[in-house]
Subunit: 709 residues, 2 copies
Amino acid sequence: MTNKSFVSVLLMVCSISVSARQIESTKVLLRQHHLMPVPASIHFLPGRLAINASFAVAVDGHTDARLEAYIHRASRRLEGRTGFEFTRGAATDPQQATLLVQCKGPGSSVPSVRDDESYSLDVSEKQALLKAVTVVGALRGIETFLQLLEGDRQGYFIPAVTITDKPRFPWRGLLIDAGRHFEPVEVIKRNLDAMAAVKLNVLHWHLTEDQGFRIESKRYPTLHQLGSDGLYYTQDQVREIIAYAGDRGIRVMPEFDMPGHATSWLVAKPELGSAPGPYKIERKNGIFEPAFDPTREELYKFLEGFFAEMAQLFRDEYMHIGGDENEGHQWNKNPKIQAFMKEKGIKDNHALQAYFNQHLSKILVRLGKKMIGWDEILHPDLPKDTVIHSWRGPASLAEAARKGYDGILSAGFYIDLMYPTWQHYKIDPVASDNTLSESELAHILGGEATMWGEWVSPETIDSRIWPRTAAIAERLWSPASVTDVDDMYRRLDAVSLELEELGLTHEKNVDMMLRRLARTKEIGPLKTLLSVVEPVKQYHRSQTHPATMLSPLTRLIDAATPDSRAAREFSELVDGLLSDAPRFRQNKDTIKAVLMQWRDVRPALDVLIDQSPILREAEQLPKDLLEIGNAGLEAMSYLDADIPPPVDWRTSRLAMLEQASKPKAEVEFAIVKPMRNLIILAAEMPALKSVPVSQWKQRVLTLAEEKKQ
Amino acid sequence: MTNKSFVSVLLMVCSISVSARQIESTKVLLRQHHLMPVPASIHFLPGRLAINASFAVAVDGHTDARLEAYIHRASRRLEGRTGFEFTRGAATDPQQATLLVQCKGPGSSVPSVRDDESYSLDVSEKQALLKAVTVVGALRGIETFLQLLEGDRQGYFIPAVTITDKPRFPWRGLLIDAGRHFEPVEVIKRNLDAMAAVKLNVLHWHLTEDQGFRIESKRYPTLHQLGSDGLYYTQDQVREIIAYAGDRGIRVMPEFDMPGHATSWLVAKPELGSAPGPYKIERKNGIFEPAFDPTREELYKFLEGFFAEMAQLFRDEYMHIGGDENEGHQWNKNPKIQAFMKEKGIKDNHALQAYFNQHLSKILVRLGKKMIGWDEILHPDLPKDTVIHSWRGPASLAEAARKGYDGILSAGFYIDLMYPTWQHYKIDPVASDNTLSESELAHILGGEATMWGEWVSPETIDSRIWPRTAAIAERLWSPASVTDVDDMYRRLDAVSLELEELGLTHEKNVDMMLRRLARTKEIGPLKTLLSVVEPVKQYHRSQTHPATMLSPLTRLIDAATPDSRAAREFSELVDGLLSDAPRFRQNKDTIKAVLMQWRDVRPALDVLIDQSPILREAEQLPKDLLEIGNAGLEAMSYLDADIPPPVDWRTSRLAMLEQASKPKAEVEFAIVKPMRNLIILAAEMPALKSVPVSQWKQRVLTLAEEKKQ
């Protein structure tokens, strides 16, 4: 990050008040923190609170088992980072405590969307004082406290600071799809810990899919017995997860997707389907036809029984009924359903789904639950107390709000699509140019990152969720004005490491998977390759390599992570070079060193690929990387010597880049754009000399962008 | 490994039959495998069995749920390594199956020390045929099959081979001490998976200690309620672990250590102690006084009740009663106990413990269990059906055998002491110079690696157990003649990586811990340092840095692993150099490159240490490493130039090395010995010229060894 952006970040995220007396402390006040999400208000002050072996926490006012257990865990994390052994138990004298927690009351007994999560944190040289109205607010403040830890030659400390904080949106969720791939209890638990660390407060647990029915039903046991391959959560485990989440101030909202996405239900209950069975658990990915038959009374009896059981198990006031991607093919083909629609005057499938949803809504109302479903459920007949979950975008959310529906956003937060963090970060549930009234705005409750489960295993899911979801968490918690991308990435690096102390595997499983792929501990060359590729984005996976839900997720694409840091760094290096017209010396040596590494890694990679047939699909990549490295080094030579490249150089190198940019082994190079800039720059040098130096960079970027089309 | 040792390994571990017709296939026959443990008999043949997407397993003869589940899991592991998706379920035509398992019968319903674990594996180009008498034998053979997987340009394959295999000892265990530090269920489970992978068959579960009572007692619930800090296994979890182990052919033997090591029991039951209470859970490490009072009848009533409950829970026929390290201080100080001894004619504490053990033995006999305990329980009054668990050594085991007791060895297998693998590998339960008769030898049942829990957390325990324990597993399974250390290390590297597919964290948690220590992802410099240090050995930990069972185990010593690979490699490099007298060119450049890396890493490390106070305790290490690197480079210069070093060079450099070799931050350099050799070599060059070249190496080694004294 340049100094300029550093200062702009500080101006943006901190409101700094500098008095004459504090002038000498300016360095401290302009402190770079790595809080994520950024608090609503933060003022750094001179001074610091030492963290040493005498660290102790006291609670003043309300306390309870949840708060004390959270403090206990936080203290252990602090011990792990600092190496100190603290005295166990609360400090005997609150005034002597390092951290004093003043909590007014317990808040709701079950986490709720109305929870007061606000807190304030005042750190002086003597003590950190955390104040909150509810225990949940205190938990949020404790996470902020932990993120404030710094260290230097004098030891560990928390900088003196005044923070007043509360979330922008009350609904900040992570959807985990355990339907397509089952995720064991420990995966859910460690992700709940990570969620709490970045102040997310809803686990949206997608429990049923065409590919799996993942929850024990004591009332209809054949559902999980036949629909899950034995991979489901027992009700004891569900209660364990709910309690675990509740201890962290996190709601657990289940989703039972219907009337489509229902294949796995119909394995046990073919009679509820809109076409005759038998049904088998779906193994492919995609959108499938099986759907409940909304014309049958038995269906609603069954659903009443099923939801009654689930309503008792799940304590959250919301019940997600899915409702997405039901294309109605089975309905169209079923004469009885067609006759029913004619008889009732139901004009199309959307109306038939609305008919189904009205029934569902009544069932849920009777059970004391609020209904929430995806965009498609929005229909004039939908009861107004239903919540719309938008995968279409802020516009559809605004439309729902105008009609009086609460809504949450997931469009733009589809982390399964492998887009870089900055793309999610720029999405806002409330468009800045919205024309909603205050009361309409209040309907927009927040959003959820969605970890759809087609291509994630317990081994890889963490690296698909984290650290990118921390940036989404910030979007949903922090003021809308917090938008500096460079600063977000800087803080994301720090938060990502801190998540590891909670057992998250997003960092450590990458090398493990590379060792398995390469059959050796010497994975340096493979790491070089992996650092500059990303998994293919959007829904492109499996288009070239047919795969099912039973395919092993242990290939190069599974080890690869989205949002290549090396590519981002290379891009910054080339940007720096471009900005240094006409001499082009900035970053020159570093760029050359990087390019040489890319050029030279091929022989070592070839050896690895030869001994590991699983890597054979990637054998073109080292060749491409060599070509990319060569082309870049050529460009640097022309720039160095200030001579124009041969007449066909530009065309041939861009053609090479075009070839290299095509996905192989379902990964793609993330360095294509800066490479294109570099090639265009070298090729355009003679032409650039006829325009003012100040225009060179923009001209190169424009030409490169055109070339991309 | 040199070619010489390669050939000697093959001659040792494989009995190779080469016919005239097979001459052209010699390359295949001299195949390097990475099986661990090495089978009793192995013959490689020409040809290979391809492993591709059509891989399938069939079972012929006996089958059951356990075998099928094991095959299912093995198939998923093979999928993970190869990237293929296999068709689920058994092959429809056994003759078409890639792997055909022929199993005669189920074997015992509960894993037993008498289980037949033998199997044979015949791999041809058409099929792999695995034959076993019992399911457990088949499970062992499946692991061998998985270890045989290789890959090259033609794809994955299993080399054609004929293996006949069975264990040398029937009792091959791993002790996990969950008393001093609790280890959650998932830690136990993943270690059971690893045990099965290297054919270990006993989990010795050390469940009670001064520092924790780790199992739920429904009969005496205050035991776990007051003695565990809430960290204990529920009986449901115990049953889950036993079933999990049983599915892998592993016995689960609990240990309830008594009459000493009993503090945590006495928190709830002070009346059973030999001194008045109250007692508190012990937090320190060491040997403590609290012991049961063997003179009280109530004690035996209590123990009868307790063991009755545990005997029902644990299905294994053995019950371990500890019996170690009871120094009798409480007994000496208790006048009632002294009076009792006088009255009964019990002459000393050892006899009093025998009196206690006789009572215990009767209780266990009534419950249908065999008693096993540590060395100390050996006493003329001890019933002959007791098993002696030796921490003293093969001699005490032989003594017990001569007296007619069964025994197992753990002396030499104390993996908590951080010794290198080769030291454990050379230990044998049966000394080669033993004078035991055949029937006496039969009393020696095997051995156990002991993971004592003073300094392990769930984060670090795997790296203390693995991969070293795989070599101990080989000692207990393979023929006594399998002793080649270089070959063991080569195979250990491969097995260590394969254990990761089971979720073991011994490799991946190291970098994670370094990232936490350094507060950055850029841990390269720290890895350089860590690669050449080892945790202090034996019981030296905590002697300089006071610590308790509540101290965080997140320091440099916790990230450090025993048996430095880099040090071993450096040692081999210097050995090569020494062997290349008088020119000393072999490995010269590599040695210099390594020494320069050591010399140059200090500035980067200093930066990391400055921002991470937890690393401050290690700040001398980069300085030492710089000095070591410098001294080595000086030695190389003198050798290069063939000039003698200045007169005081040798003394000053050896003094430096002496200083550097002292533990700091409880880690120590593992490169001291080869460095000493290098310094002596450079210093002795003038003197060496007067003796024959062939004697140079030995002379240097002798002088270096003397210098060490």
